[in-house]
């Protein structure tokens, strides 16, 4: 999986009604890596992330031209959207566990995709919680409501919930922006572990976070990808003046 491109985005334009939120995006996302999207708010990071698993389908008046390919398959060309979202999982900005038990939260995805046997569900629940580094904290309260967990635990629960359907890619939209520094640290640590098995795309408003966890970084400005390079390269020798201004804190 490593080094092979997992997503291929070609001349992608996206409109919300008459407003063009993404302008001719061309990029390849590498498998087995963590890609970070950075840039000032409102410049299209979340929008591009959501085109990868077609969450934009839910937005009325959203129109897309160009192509997005997942391992060569056209995402917008007749692919079953529910299967796409099974392969490309998503973790949201604000932790959003369902108002049900920890167990039922994790089992929701597998049940959606037809797993019914108790023993199979039990083992996928345990494995997902372990992979999301939260098993030890919740193993005695699987039947307790997920909303009683702390914010950081809820977010790791949501990561576990996403892992439970066996995705290839994880999309994360500012997953730590609502969390305290300690919870953030735990999640960053987790990301580096998860990189071994999953390709990850993470939106972050925090440049230190991008340098800490990502292999490649894309810098967004006003709906365009200004620069896309290895994270080390981008932060040490930015090619574009605007990138340099942003990462040195001159705006944003």
């Amino acid at each position: 999986m490593k080094d092979k491109s997992i997503f291929e985005i070609k001349s992608l334009d996206l409109f919300y009604g008459n407003f063009q939120a993404l302008k001719s995006i061309n990029m390849e996302l590498a498998g087995g890596e963590i890609t970070a999207f950075i840039g000032p708010s409102g410049c299209g990071k979340s929008t591009l992330l959501k085109t990868l698993n077609r969450m934009n389908d839910l937005v009325e008046g959203c129109r897309i031209t160009g192509t997005v390919r997942l391992m060569g398959q056209d995402v917008y060309g007749g692919m079953d959207v529910n299967l796409l979202r099974r392969r490309v999982g998503m973790v949201f900005q604000k932790p959003n566990p369902f108002p049900m038990s920890v167990y039922d939260n994790i089992a929701f995805g597998p049940r959606t995709h037809g797993v019914k046997k108790k023993s199979a569900l039990d083992s996928v629940v345990e494995k997902s919680l372990r992979d999301a580094a939260i098993w030890d904290e919740v193993k005695d309260r699987l039947k307790k409501p997920a909303l009683a967990l702390s914010g950081g635990q809820q977010q790791r629960l949501c990561i576990a919930r996403a892992l439970a359907v066996g995705p290839e890619v994880l999309l994360m939209d500012e997953p730590t922006s609502a969390l305290d520094p300690i919870s953030t640290g735990k999640i960053e640590e987790l990301l580096l572990q998860l990189r071994e098995e999953y390709s990850i795309v993470i939106v972050t408003h925090n440049m230190q976070q991008a340098t800490r966890v990502s292999d490649r970084t894309a810098f967004f400005l006003l709906g365009e990808v200004v620069e896309y390079a290895k994270t080390e390269t981008m932060f040490s020798m930015p090619k574009d003046k605007r990138t340099e201004d942003y990462i040195t804190g001159r705006f944003g």
């Binding site: 698993n53 969450m55 839910l58 009325e60 529910n82 299967l83 796409l84 979202r85 099974r86 999982g89 998503m90 949201f92 604000k94 959003n96 566990p97 369902f98 108002p99 049900m100 929701f108 995805g109 959606t112 995709h113 409501p145 909303l147 009683a148 967990l149 702390s150 914010g151 635990q153 949501c158 919930r161 996403a162 359907v165």
Partner: protein, 283 residues
């Protein structure tokens, strides 16, 4: 000088609000005490006999009828109301003309006096459809009467479910049907139940609409096509005949207890369901 005047107004206002509260509470307490004092001494076991006779005006048949009509009305109105609410919140596109129309209709219907429903039920179900005075005519009429209430409360409850739950479900590859029935609807359940319980209260307390549709037969109905009276109608009949005032008060006590019981139940359910989901944080 000015300050003193302000202080005086404040004091007057405090007295006024306090007085209003006391008057409300006092009236209510007086009413309840009055009914209990007049009714309890006449709560004899014979009032709970299976048969209603002209010597022993048993209220048990009316009690059974109340349960039957309530259940039947809910059976019709709850699925219809909840499904319309699901359509309005989850399926209809924003700015859909049908949505505005359905909402306007519901709002209008909920303001109509119940006697109008009674007349409609009498003209349509009793006369035109030839269902006669029957449990069915009564229950269908009442279900139309409570439909707006059920629909509105279900709609509000569904609208209050955060969109982040919906995104979470879709993000895992769930289809719309699964999202609605496994995530949105369970999350909205406390609000929906609150509406249902309000509706039960309206059914139990209804007389006008039922007299015209379910009739006033004082026995347990042998079939849904037979006439029967609920407790409220029973009480109305007893007191308007004027022959069994004591029994009428006794019936009022039972009705009062029933309504209090329903309220307590609703509080209990809301606590059970609400306490599970709404709590945030912890740790």
């Amino acid at each position: 000088m000015k300050k003193q005047k302000q202080k005086l107004t404040e004091k007057a206002f405090a007295v006024l609000t306090w007085g209003a509260a006391a008057l409300t509470l006092g009236t209510l307490a007086f009413l309840i005490a009055f009914i209990l004092i007049r009714g309890i001494p006449h709560l004899k076991p014979s009032l709970f006999a299976w048969e209603y006779t002209s010597e022993n005006v048993s209220l048990l048949p009316a009690f059974v009828t109340t349960a039957e009509i309530t259940l039947l009305s809910l059976l019709i109105a709850v699925p219809l109301g909840v499904f319309s609410a699901i359509f309005l919140t989850e399926y209809a596109k924003r700015g859909n003309k049908a949505v505005a129309l359905v909402r306007l209709t519901a709002e209008t219907l909920s303001g109509i006096p119940s006697i109008v429903y009674g007349l409609f039920g009498w003209l349509f179900f009793v006369t035109s459809l030839k269902w006669g005075f029957s449990l069915l005519s009564g229950a269908v009429t009442l279900s139309i009467m409570i439909l707006p209430l059920i629909m509105r409360s279900a709609e509000e409850a569904l609208k209050a479910v955060p969109d982040t739950y919906r995104e979470g479900a879709f993000g895992l590859g769930a289809g719309k049907l699964r999202m609605v029935f496994r995530v949105a609807l369970p999350a909205a359940m406390p609000g929906i139940l609150a509406g249902v319980i309000l509706a039960v209260g309206r059914i139990v307390g209804e007389t006008a609409a039922l007299i015209y549709t379910a009739g006033t037969v004082a026995q347990i109905a042998p079939s849904p096509m037979a006439s029967a009276r609920t407790l409220s109608v029973h009480m109305y009949a007893l007191s308007s005949e004027g022959l069994f005032m004591n029994e009428s008060y006794a019936t009022a006590v039972v009705l009062l207890l029933l309504v209090a019981g329903i309220n307590a139940l609703s509080g209990f359910i809301a606590k059970r369901l609400g306490g599970k989901g709404e709590r945030q944080g912890g740790e």
